[in-house]
């Protein structure tokens, strides 16, 4: 990631050459040999290297292998099926026809019975598009408001941060009640609806058209607080002189935000967007606990689909194949954002 590279470049060249010389002389002074340093270094990192090999790197390779297997949890063994799992998951493709007359096959996105993977990918994208901007810019708005001279700032900050402390499972159970047909939210909506003559109260969780909306509402509610904290931290790093200069130049509040605050929040913004989207693509717990993926697949997100295939139906091979495709999507996105960010930095 960006961090590592920046650190390395910071250490490179003359600085690191000098450091090497100094380290060497120090080592000589202390009587510590290079071998001893190597040994100690390795011993100190050994537990982590072991854990990462067994629970991260090994499993990634193992998952890749499993994705080519038809796995039976009952026999705890698999049979090699080649690309069959990938084909099963991805077909019918969102495009059809030959290379010359390629057409979009939108039915995979509109009908879950055509291809559930593409359908749940669409659901996940809708979820991401609907939640991420509101989580981030809601968080930014709150941070900007609280960065001003507001009384009881600490209490407000605590209030916005409270939902962040919550387990997704707990928040899903709570919102399932608030959004129930006879729940608290409808209790508010009913009189308003009567006033304007519209049926506002709905069976929010039981209706396929609204169920995903409930999950999204919950995610926005739980996501604003953490982004607020990130932006509050980011705002501390904006040099005050810049505001001063802008003020002397007669810049309006909006201009100050646009030309001083916003460019200086670039790093925070990049991080927050990447994390939020990666998180959104892996949404699972709240969708499972809120509505178990239903009704009629309305809240079946990709990770929920992987969970159902692998752990409820025991199709580990299919699950692993889906997980790898999701990995590729997330990787491509992060890489794209990273390159985009680098280009932006050059233009500043």
């Amino acid at each position: 990631m960006a961090v590592g590279e920046r650190d390395e470049s910071g250490d490179s060249g003359v600085v690191s050459a000098v450091r090497d010389v100094l380290d060497g002389s120090l080592r000589a002074r202390l009587g510590v040999t290079e071998d001893q340093n190597n040994l100690m270094g390795f011993l100190f990192v050994a537990p982590n290297v072991l854990m990462f090999s067994v629970f991260l790197l090994g499993p990634v390779l193992y998952a890749f292998y499993i994705s080519f297997q038809e796995w039976s949890i009952l026999r705890n063994a698999g049979t090699w099926v080649g690309l069959a799992n990938y084909v099963d998951v991805l077909t019918p493709l969102p495009v059809q026809g030959g290379l010359t007359n390629l057409q979009l096959n939108t039915s995979v996105f509109t009908d879950p019975s055509v291809n559930l993977f593409w359908y749940s990918l669409k659901t996940t994208v809708i979820y991401a598009v609907g939640t991420v901007p509101l989580q981030i810019y809601g968080g930014l708005a709150v941070a900007l408001m609280l960065d001003k001279r507001v009384r009881m700032k600490k209490a407000y900050r605590a209030a916005y941060f409270m939902p962040v402390m919550l387990s997704g499972a707990a928040s899903a159970v709570m919102w399932r009640w608030f959004l129930a047909a006879d729940g608290v939210i409808n209790n508010f909506l009913e009189p308003i609806g009567e006033l304007v003559g519209v049926q506002l109260a709905q069976n929010w969780a039981g209706n396929p058209s609204y169920a995903l909306g409930g999950v999204m509402l919950m995610a926005i509610w739980g996501g604003i607080g953490s982004n607020m904290i990130f932006f509050l931290a980011g705002l501390q790093n904006v040099p005050e002189e810049l505001y001063e200069a802008a003020r002397i130049d007669g810049a309006s509040a909006w201009q100050r935000f646009r030309h001083v605050t916003w460019p200086n929040l670039g790093n925070t913004n990049f991080f927050v967007i990447v994390m939020a989207i990666i998180g959104a693509f892996q949404v699972f717990g709240i969708a499972l606990v809120y509505s178990e993926g239903g009704p009629v697949y309305a809240t079946t997100t990709i990770v929920l689909l992987i969970y159902q295939r692998a752990f409820e139906e025991g199709k580990m091979g299919v699950g692993a194949a889906m997980a790898f495709i999701l990995f590729l999507i997330i990787f491509a996105f992060s890489y794209h954002q990273y390159r985009h960010r680098q280009q932006e930095e050059v233009t500043y």
Binding site: M1, V3, G4, L30, N37, N38, G41, F44, V45, P47, N48, M51, F52, F55, P59, V60, Y62, A63, I66, W71, N76, V142, M145, K148, R149, V150, A158, F161, M162, M165, S167, A169, V173, M174, R176, W177, F178, A180, V184, N186, N187, W221, G225, I229, F230, A233, Q236, N237, Y243, I278, F281, Q282, F284, G285, V289, F311, M316, G319, A323, L326
Partner: protein
């Protein structure tokens, strides 16, 4: 804080425009804060109602009873104490392992000059890119093979190390002067003693931050315990809440009482040590 004053030079604090802006500002912040906190209030009032209905819990509950909590306590399939202990053991052990392993590695990567150090650090950091979903299935199969399903070690081991902790502690150790270690070595301390006696005590604030952050993450973790714990006795609280939901669906009073039991301890800890939590959160934002 970098900026001691929130006032910008020449900030005009009088006149109608200032006051109307202030009113709008407070109205917005307060509405948002109500949206954030009212659900907690509804959870509390529902949990304290015998027959919760939307009208009876919205603001002030009509009657207050501990009956839902008693019911939870009495049901034979609801093992509140056991689940609570499980969650404490799980989150506690995950935190302890993370602090130990990550501080060792963070120290080595910051202060010991060994072969391949920078490459290893890069390697650790790049594991942050791996989405948890990819390793879920193979790790589960490995643990099945080890017979570690439904055990504490199965719950804990896969979460015992975390690249973010390594990064955080490496940055912290890097910020401490190397001269301290050199001096201690001249005094005859070996590397481990230098780490343990000199640097570790200085890293306490970073450890506390990372500790709270890790503990909270494990306490609220749903996905992994859901997969590895298939029996009542081994559930952690979030998974148990899911089981209670499936068993007692629509008994909202009971379910809100169960939700409160999970939320309560974390919320109390948060309100008591707000700054640590928020510091942990903003540090995690510094990764970028």
């Amino acid at each position: 804080m970098a900026r001691s004053s929130y006032e910008y030079p020449g900030y005009d604090r009088s006149g109608a425009s200032y006051w109307s802006k202030t009113v709008v500002l407070y109205a917005l912040v307060t509405t948002g804060a109500l949206w954030m906190t009212l659900p907690f209030w509804w959870t509390l009032t529902t949990a304290l109602s015998a027959n919760p209905t939307a009208t009876s819990v919205t603001f002030i509950p009509a009657e207050v009873t501990a009956q839902n909590f008693l019911k939870l306590w009495e049901r034979p399939d609801i093992l509140l104490v056991r689940w609570f202990i499980n969650t404490v053991i799980f989150a506690g052990a995950v935190t302890a392992f993370n602090l130990t392993f990550d501080s060792l590695a963070g120290y080595a990567l910051a202060k010991i000059d060994f072969w391949g150090r920078e490459k290893l650090f890069l390697g650790f950091m790049s594991t942050m890119m791996i989405p948890g979903m990819v390793t879920l299935i193979p790790v589960y199969l490995i643990l099945v093979e080890l017979n570690w399903t439904n055990t504490y070690q199965g719950l804990i081991a896969p979460l015992a190390a975390n690249p973010f902790g390594i990064f955080l502690l490496r940055q912290h150790f890097k910020s401490l002067p190397s001269a301290l270690g050199e001096a201690s070595k001249i005094d005859g301390c070996n590397e481990l003693q230098t780490f343990y006696k000199i640097y570790l005590p200085l890293a306490k604030p970073a450890l506390a931050t990372l500790g709270i952050f890790t503990f909270m993450g494990a306490w609220n973790n749903f996905q992994w315990p859901l997969i590895i714990a298939n029996e009542n006795e081994m559930y952690t609280l979030p998974v148990a809440l899911f089981a209670v939901r499936n068993q007692y669906f629509a008994e909202w009073g009971l379910m809100m009482a169960a939700a409160l039991i999970i939320v309560g301890p974390v919320l109390i800890a948060f309100l008591a040590a707000q700054n640590y939590f928020i510091r942990g959160m903003s540090l995690s934002g510094m990764k970028g």
